[in-house]
């Protein structure tokens, strides 16, 4: 878009949000040209920073009037390119919508604007309550982005995902209509449109207010880390804990040798050299945490743990978690570049798929570190490569794709929490048949028939929405009772 059309658009947007909240200079736009998946870049024509949901609505309505595509963006920490701009489109940055609107602990609810960070939600309901989904990026990532991606995190094993906590949203549709879906109460009559919105990756509209369920803080927490010779033994512990031993850990996280090395260099937690580590957290009534902890220690030792360290206090617990949550960023210490993959496998197939990843890495002559939510079977292989070496980025991409194929072959999924975005849309046909994609498209077209909200994401190929044929009407002869359909 150039010339008069662009000038008019910028004037209209500027009239809505003011000049200081409209970004159009190429230097300033560069900050928005990618999200956490930096391999993909695109230049939008403008970024708007609305202040409230009414401004979001006006912006979306203006864009609809000109049929300009747009992408909603929170912190830009997503890892699938979900917030990658559309070239010649507009980015609606929601970072100024960061107010906590209502805290209603008696009814276990908190209502926030989308730019509030994940960690701020828990802070708003502390110390009695907390918001369980906890992506590693929780200090920066926004709730709006969490809703778009159906974000997970380490504690999802026991507590569930974003979708299990969103009760209601205010949604601005691509035509600029604003509608309340769900609410404070659960099981409202009608379709579960909130269920369809969560995880829709910004393709069904933009969420401008979110009501979340929060839960009481557990009485006690115990955290331990166990070190093993290899991921196989650690995997056996996972299978035993998941298989119904009566103990449901709040989180079970695994790191392999390369990931441990990277973490050691980056945050220096003082871990021993090991082939794999399991971070297990237990929470619940105080009287139960101690026996459960003993049980987990016993299971780890039975499967050959070389060392088990139990966090003695909150500070030690924080250090263990910091090591785990720093793992992605720490990869920079052992590799010039890395690519985060996000596949899921049935938990009984973990060991087998980890072996397959090792084989694939060897075939491609690249290293892969594994840091993942073992309890959920959600793998995060980190494919290490050097972007400066010719051909290596391409090989890394190929290896990452083959890892996903291995996950699908094992009966899993191409993404557990990062989303399809731009990154995995080519793999969608490996998981879904044409008829399945066609069903997805029906939902997309119901919400955004013009395809303006985050186009080019999720679906493998661009599709247009046809007109809806008129609803079934009874024939006049039927109405007159002269004829009947059988």
């Amino acid at each position: 878009m150039r010339g008069n059309g662009l000038d008019e658009l910028l004037r209209e947007l500027s009239a809505i949000v003011g000049r200081e909240r409209l970004v159009a200079h190429p230097d300033a736009l560069r900050a928005y040209q990618s999200d956490g998946l930096t391999r993909h870049r695109a230049m939008p024509v403008a970024v708007v920073l609305p202040d409230d949901s009414a401004e979001v609505q006006k912006v979306v309505r203006a864009l609809h009037g000109r049929r300009v595509p747009w992408v909603a963006r929170g912190a830009g920490s997503g890892l699938s390119g979900g917030a990658l701009p559309v070239a010649d489109g507009v980015v609606i940055a929601l970072t100024r919508l960061r107010r906590v609107l209502d805290v209603d602990l008696e009814n276990s609810r908190v209502t926030v604007q989308p730019g509030v960070t994940n960690a701020q939600v828990s802070a708003a309901v502390a110390p009695t309550h907390f918001y369980p989904p906890d992506p590693s990026s929780q200090v920066v990532c926004t709730i709006g982005g969490n809703v778009a991606e159906n974000a997970g995190g380490a504690h999802c094993f026991k507590y569930g995902f974003t979708t299990n906590y969103v009760c209601g949203v205010e949604l601005v549709l691509a035509d600029g209509e604003r509608v309340d879906l769900g609410g404070t109460e659960i099981d409202r009559p009608g379709l579960d449109l909130v269920g369809a919105i969560v995880g829709s990756e910004g393709t069904l509209g933009v969420v401008t207010r979110i009501t979340l369920r929060v839960i009481p803080v557990p009485e006690a927490q115990r955290t331990l880390i166990a070190f093993f010779a290899d991921t196989g033994s650690a995997g056996e512990v996972v299978s035993e804990l998941v298989g119904g031993s009566g103990v449901v850990p709040a989180a079970i996280e695994m790191m392999d040798e390369l990931a441990l090395q990277a973490v050691e260099q980056a945050v220096n937690p003082g871990f021993p050299h090991a082939g794999a580590a399991l971070l297990v957290e237990l929470d619940g009534p105080e009287a139960e945490c101690a026996p459960h902890l003993d049980h987990v220690v016993e299971v780890c030792q039975r499967h050959g743990a070389e060392e088990v360290r139990v966090a003695r206090d909150a500070a030690e617990r924080d250090r263990l978690w910091r090591a785990r949550k720093a793992a992605f960023a720490a990869m920079g210490r052992v590799s010039p570049s890395y690519y985060v993959q996000d596949g899921v496998v049935p938990r009984t197939r973990l060991a087998e798929v980890l072996r397959r990843i090792d084989e694939l890495a060897a075939e491609h002559g690249l290293r892969v570190a594994n840091v993942f939510h073992a309890g959920d079977g959600n793998l995060h292989p980190l494919v290490c490569y050097d972007h400066a070496k010719p051909g290596e980025p391409e090989r890394a991409e190929l290896l990452a794709a083959e890892i996903l194929s291995a996950c699908i072959e094992a009966g899993g999924s191409i993404t557990g929490e990062h989303g399809v975005g731009i990154d995995k849309k080519a793999q969608m046909p490996a998981m879904f048949a044409d008829a399945d994609l066609e069903a997805f498209q029906r939902l997309r077209c119901a919400f955004d028939p013009d395809g303006l909200a985050n186009p080019g994401k999720v679906m493998p190929t661009p599709r247009l929405c046809g007109e809806v044929p008129g609803p079934y009407r009874r024939h006049p002869l039927e109405l007159a009772g002269v004829a009947e359909r059988l």
């Binding site: 099981d187 009559p189 269920g195 899993g412 999924s413 557990g416 399809v420 939902l443 119901a446 609803p471």
Partner: protein, 398 residues
């Protein structure tokens, strides 16, 4: 662990697009009816047939009995997942899973002859006391294969417990009352069957005490399986169920907590199932009566209990979730009671579930909803069922 199913399909994962013959039959039937313009009402055990509808189905509407879609297609015990035909009765599934010490943690009332099917319960979005800890059908369904109104067969979701690939159509279909398509197969998340259970019970005759006990128990980190209340004619009680090896100890700490708050209770250690059967039963209307599901808030419990006394109704529900059912016998003025409930509890949604058919024609089954919401629902329904042939008497989008 692999168990033979009655269909002779083993527990090895089936290819994603495998055609199970009964699904192909449903697809063909719907395609034929679509070509002829014949409306269809999907049904399983027919225990919740009228839910949501505003009167009898239109002339010429034919039922589609999903009970041809019966059987456990896969049971991946180590992964705690199963793929089942939608027409599988919940009781049959429970028996089958119990052999492996597992269960589907979904315990709605099973209806006449305990005929409720997995697909029917999910399509109706029904749930029971286990909702407190394990959620609704939407939270337990991992994937689905559905047949759309034109006969197209589509699947969404996956067979693993964590997946965000593609739109979450399984959530959209849960509670859609057969208006978007026919649920044919479901992939479900399972849980271990607890070794022991124990229930703490408190009786009271004052709505304020009822609400106070509910608040005390739901804000304490007790990790109950279920936390329920019941209230009728000025008397009621609260039930908290604990499960697992330490069930009795947990129940005892609940009692202690209540004693601290000046409330006396009692504990039943094991053999507590009848208490919970009765809770489930109270969600359904007595013969000729009505049941109304109130999407409530815990802070409005006391006034709701008083209001049910005023209209001669019974109240049952999930204490921490604020989800209640109000039931009335055959001899009340149902329409008047419903209006009073809606007026006094506004803006809490009050949805009519069980009701005599002639009453359905006089009342608005779902109560007020915003025009924007209804318009969006209509757009969704029209995309999935452009000809409006599926369960036409249910007011989704109207």
């Amino acid at each position: 662990m692999s168990l033979p199913s009655k269909l002779g399909v083993d527990a090895s994962p089936a290819p994603a697009t495998s055609g199970w013959p009964p699904v192909a039959d449903v697809s063909q039937l719907l395609a034929e009816r679509a070509a002829a313009g014949i409306p269809t009402r999907p049904r399983g055990g027919a225990t919740k047939l009228g839910w949501g509808s505003c009167g009898a189905p239109p002339n010429g509407c034919q039922d589609l009995d999903t009970r041809s879609l019966t059987g456990v297609l896969e049971h991946n015990a180590g992964d705690l997942t199963a793929v089942v035909g939608a027409g599988t009765p919940l009781v049959e599934l429970a028996d089958r899973l119990a052999l492996s010490g597992q269960r589907l943690a979904l315990d709605p009332p099973l209806g006449f002859e305990r005929a409720a099917t997995v697909g029917g319960v999910c399509a109706a979005g029904d749930s029971g006391p286990l909702r407190h800890r394990y959620g609704a059908p939407r939270d337990l369904v991992l994937g689905m294969r559905v047949v759309l109104s034109d006969g197209a067969v589509a699947q969404a979701g996956s067979k693993v417990i964590k997946n965000v690939a593609g739109y979450d159509l399984p959530k959209l279909f849960c509670g859609s009352l057969g208006t978007l398509g026919v649920i044919a197969e479901l992939c479900l998340r399972l849980h271990p069957l607890p070794a022991q259970t124990a229930t703490t019970m408190i009786d009271c005759d004052d709505p304020a005490t009822l609400a106070r006990v509910c608040t005390a128990l739901s804000s304490a980190p007790l990790e109950a399986e279920s936390l329920d209340l019941a209230w009728r004619r000025g008397r009621g009680g609260v039930l908290a169920r604990f499960a697992g090896e330490r069930a009795s100890a947990r129940a005892a700490s609940a009692l202690e907590l209540l004693a601290g708050a000046g409330v006396d209770g009692d504990t039943r250690d094991g053999d507590d199932e009848p208490l919970w059967d009765s809770q489930r039963e109270l969600q359904r209307a007595p013969q000729g009566g009505i049941s109304i599901r109130v999407s409530g808030r815990p802070t409005r419990l006391a006034e709701t209990a008083r209001l049910t006394d005023d209209i001669g109704a019974a109240l049952v529900g999930r204490a921490a979730l604020g989800l209640w059912w109000v039931t009335l016998g055959p001899d009340s003025d149902h329409a008047a009671a419903l209006s009073l409930l809606r007026e006094r509890l506004a803006p809490l949604p009050c949805a009519v579930l069980d009701a005599p058919e002639q009453l359905r024609e006089q009342i608005d089954a779902w109560g007020p909803r915003t025009a924007g919401l209804v318009a969006l629902e209509r757009r969704v329904r029209e995309r999935f069922d452009p000809a409006g042939l599926l369960n036409p008497s249910v007011p989704v989008g109207r």
